[in-house]
């Protein structure tokens, strides 16, 4: 996989291999927090940051700790622990030193610990045997793609606020249906590049 340009991976993970719209990962916070554009943008930024950082940390842990001892099967638990600890650490630092950033973004950080898109990125980069640089771009790209999806969803939900949606479908129901439609639209991008 060394042949693929990291920038191609970046673009691909935004459009053709979008975490939400083609892998359906990270759905819980996607559905829960897509009510408002401002908050969803905040969460998107936080996800992107954590994705970029944890892809590097997990890459190093995997290749320099787990592989030498042939403990690859431990990656699930190790990745989860690292993500959780990293998010905690970031939250503390942000809260202490950049209060403004904390108020706009920090409150979403705990939500990210349980965002499966983060674990998904770490696992995909191993499965697709990316290099360190590729993994980093993949992480950032997936984050941007996730942000793109959640912000557009927030925009759509704002538009349909006054639409006569049947009672049983209001809230998560209609959001899932719209996600499906968005995923169909994103199929239009497929085939432009292949990264796996």
């Amino acid at each position: 996989m060394e042949s693929i340009n990291p920038l191609v991976i970046l673009m691909a993970s935004v459009f053709t291999n979008n975490m939400i719209l083609s892998n359906f990962l990270g759905m819980c916070s996607f559905i829960a927090v897509s009510g408002e554009i401002k908050t969803s943008l905040g969460l998107g930024q936080a996800v992107t940051f954590v994705l970029g950082a944890t892809s590097i940390i997990n890459y190093l842990l995997y290749h320099y700790v787990l592989v030498p001892y042939s403990l690859e099967y431990l990656r699930f638990i190790v990745f989860i622990i690292t993500i959780a600890a990293f998010v905690q650490l970031v939250e503390m630092v942000v809260e202490r030193y950049t209060p403004t950033l904390y108020y706009s973004l920090g409150i979403f950080l705990p939500l990210i610990t349980v965002n499966c898109a983060i674990l998904g990125v770490s696992l995909f980069m191993i499965i697709r045997s990316y290099t360190l640089l590729q993994s980093f771009f993949f992480g950032i790209g997936s984050g941007l793609g996730w942000t793109l999806a959640i912000v557009s969803m927030a925009g759509i939900r704002k538009k349909i606020k006054n639409s006569p949606i049947p009672k049983g479908l209001q809230g998560p129901g209609i959001t899932l249906i719209i996600t499906g439609l968005m995923a169909l639209a994103f199929i239009g991008f497929s085939g432009i590049v292949r990264i796996q």
């Binding site: 908050t39 842990l61 700790v65 787990l66 001892y69 042939s70 403990l71 431990l74 638990i77 190790v78 622990i81 690292t82 600890a85 905690q88 650490l89 503390m92 630092v93 809260e95 202490r96 030193y97 209060p99 108020y103 409150i107």
Partner: protein, 365 residues
């Protein structure tokens, strides 16, 4: 075999390193130093920064009410923070009205002390203390309501206004793994300084009510904080209308004792609603009040009378208001009951010439 050892070793070392990192970070990064909290421009004290405003206040013996234990899901711990709280957090929004937000009202359990702060608290709160006490008497007055007397430790006294409430602490017990506070109105006389009495109804799966009804017996030690609340008898000469259902009788009983003890002679009518005859209680005492207070009338009413020989009133308390009260101004009403009961009673009272400021209520829900 060696795989198992390396697995355990690697996992342990990774988690240890991370745990160590977090502990160090917590020690060095989340260290905000000593901060000053100024209350009502008057009292001030130093606290270790970094924890929530609520817990900082409680550790300084200022018992801001809180029923959920600082999880941000009861909304009782609101207080005005005029300086040093930072922007409103998303976790507070559910409990702050637009008016609250405009006036810097915050949830003290969510706001962290990271700066010197200036806050405003009602003066009554400084009277609030934590009391250690012992159950001295417990009796079922109806199939679902218990009457408790709680004796305070010998060297302490409680002073409160008739109608105020306390927060009873239920410790962890089998089936409940955390400490919980719940609010209950005091039903005893303000002249009793070394004990309080409560009426506690049984609520299915209620944490504290289950504790009281299933686990608590005379001789047990309990703790509570108090007194709290704006629901107390106002010092005027107006005619008084009291309305309660079920355990809502508690603060009303305290108010009646207050009238009796202090010889307050105001025209008073007490409408008490219950479902069946079994749900009526304290009838002897009400008869005693009718004897001792020349202008007091007790009107119990049953919404579902189950016995043939019930000669009293039938209907809800709102029906009694329509039936007994004429349109008149300058009267005070004190209501205690469930949210919906309060809402409909207020509506009926407004139709009878009451003004909103003179309708004082305590709703339990």
């Amino acid at each position: 075999m060696s795989t198992i050892y390396t697995t355990v070793l690697i996992i342990t070392s990774i988690t240890t390193v991370l745990a160590l990192l977090l502990t160090l970070a917590n020690y060095f990064i989340a260290d905000y130093g000593e901060k000053k909290i100024i209350i009502n421009n008057d009292k001030e004290f130093l606290v270790e920064g970094g924890s929530s405003l609520l817990s900082s206040l409680i550790s300084n013996k200022i018992f801001v009410p809180s029923a959920c234990g600082g999880k941000g899901n009861c909304g009782y711990c609101k207080c005005k923070v005029s300086h040093g709280a930072g922007p409103i957090l998303a976790t507070e929004l559910t409990y702050l009205t637009e008016d609250d937000q405009k006036h810097n009202i915050r949830l003290s359990c969510q706001v962290k002390v990271k700066d010197d702060m200036m806050i405003e608290l009602p003066e009554e709160l400084f009277n609030v203390r934590q009391y250690n006490a012992e159950i001295s008497f417990s009796e079922s007055v109806t199939p679902v309501i218990k009457h408790l007397r709680i004796e305070i430790d010998k060297n302490e006294e409680i002073s409160f206004k008739a109608g105020q409430y306390i927060q009873l602490l239920a410790p962890a017990y089998p089936g409940n793994d955390e400490e919980v506070y719940r609010a209950y109105s005091i039903c005893s006389s303000t002249s009793a300084k070394n004990y309080i009495e409560l009426f506690i109804g049984y609520v299915k799966d209620g944490i504290v009510t289950t504790y009281v009804h299933m686990h608590l017996k005379p001789g047990d030690k309990v703790a509570f904080t108090g007194p709290y609340g704006e629901f107390y008898l106002r010092d005027t000469d107006n005619e008084v209308i009291l309305v309660a259902v079920g355990t809502g009788m508690a603060p009303i009983r305290s108010i009646l004792y207050e009238m009796k003890d202090k010889n307050i002679d105001r025209k008073t009518t007490f409408f008490f609603g219950a479902r069946t005859k079994d749900d009526l209680f304290m009838l002897d005492e009400m008869a005693m009040f009718e004897q001792d207070l020349p202008n007091f009338t007790f009107i119990p009413t049953l919404s579902k009378p189950d016995v043939e020989n019930w000669k009293g009133q039938v209907g809800r308390v709102t029906d009694m208001i329509d039936k007994y009260l004429d349109y008149k101004e300058d009267r005070e009403a004190y209501l205690c009951g469930s949210g919906p009961m309060i809402k409909s009673t207020v509506k009926h009272l407004l139709n009878k010439g009451f003004v909103e400021d003179n309708i004082i209520y305590d709703s339990f829900d």
